[in-house]
Amino acid sequence: MVMLETYTDADAIAASRGDHECFRHLFDRHFDAVHRFLQRRVGRQLADDLAAETFVQAFRHRDRYDGSPDARPWLLGIAVNLMRRHYRSERRQLDAYARTGIDLVAVSGFDNAEERADAANQGRRLARALSSLRDGDRDVLLLYAWADLSYEEIALALGVRIGTVRSRLHRGRRRLRALLEAPAEPARDHLKGDESSR
């Protein structure tokens, strides 16, 4: 069985032209990662749908695959493409978080109120910064920070040049740093009360 573990994504995609079931290898390997990336951007419910659609699109267009051993950048590129219809929803959720301190997308991992409040303060700044970015800059920054893609992989995923990736990343990080250093606006009191009672 050792040899089976050495199969690359490109092998699985090539084999799936003869036997569709072979595409399952790609699904097993990457579905969770694609879902996690989408969930961080638009929440779990929408991520369920978009992750599924990502693999439908990938299967449909597998003949266009470029043969790279790792298909994750390609799949994330499809996921980002599908996300474009939901940029407004993403920005709305980020804005709400920035204003209220309540993140409708994330699952709380903090046990006590103090930790939750610290995280929420930091999170509000980040949410404000992410919301204020151009959509394309946010795509690049989050593929870099959340999906750990290299410049080359991001360029491949988004179908842009590496120079574009560099400039978008530079612009996004500059904006992020500026807003992280700015003081946070106070959250709305009534919503804060809602949060503590959750």
Binding site: M3, E21, C22, D28, Q39, D103
Partner: protein, 357 residues
Amino acid sequence: MKDLELLRQFRSETTPPSEEVVASAYRRMLAESGQAAKSGFDARRGRRVRLALGVAVTAATVAAVMAFLPGGNPGGPRSAAAALSLVARVASEQEAVPALGPGQFYYMRTMSFGLNGLWEPERSPYLYTRTDLDEQWFASDGSGRELLRNGKATFPSERDRLKWIEAGSEDLQSQRTHDEKFPGPKGGLEGMSKAQSGYTGIPQPNLSDLPTDPAALKTVIEARKGVFQGMPGDGETFDIIASTLRSFYAPPKLRAALYQVASELPGVELVGDVKDPVGRPGVAVAYPVVPGLQHELIFDPSNSALLGERWVITNPDASHLYSGIPAGTNLMWFAYLASGIVDSMNERPPGVVDSTN
């Protein structure tokens, strides 16, 4: 870097998709091919992986697998000894590469991967991986150039990344380039003590004056004399053979003798047909380095080239160091991508495309 660290922690707590969601997504994907109705989806992840890969092998490589797996094609090798003897015969019939002329260089291009941090849990309580690309040019006097480009350091899990931050965010040499020209030894290779040579020593010697008769070579290797330094033992012999095959340039006759000596070494096992770390088909043999860890040599049986090597965890329970790491994980690998003779230290052999000079 603080902005990126904060961003990486932002919304890092996610919930994995439920089995229902995964199953539904999978059915939706198969519906694209009209197979949903007849596909029995098994929600147990591990089983799905094995099934999928099994199908992939059946579809694409039955003939190749049968040729080398133990108990497979009756005409194919069933043991490491048989596979190594076959490749030794192929090597013995090959023509040697002409000697380097003045101003010429022998070029080697190697990709390597490492799962780092395993051996010193006190010093680095986290794991990270990095894939590097190394190019070397050697002249006949031992001088040359090394261009090493480190890939991006990646953490296997969020926990490892947080541990790395907690431990002081050590420099992991991520995405660095090292470009160095080195002089040859005084008096050229003839003046260099062969005891100084070996895999890690740059420059390395021309190996053409070593015995090419397998019995004579075996005697020299086992005596640990000349270029063959090291501790006694079969494991060390296997490693010395590997080191020599990957060295500067082992001519075909010497390569044949090395494979033949390996074929007679007790403890070497046939892994079978594999893909090397970059996806090229080859045959692998293995030696158990320590309990739970084996060193594999992957070669191309059609041209006797050493394609790559890897160190694979076979039993995570054999050492506390591997605890929690799945069997089959590569601790380290090398893929020997290209080699050949070129006319300058900025040149690569035909077909080797590189954007950096």
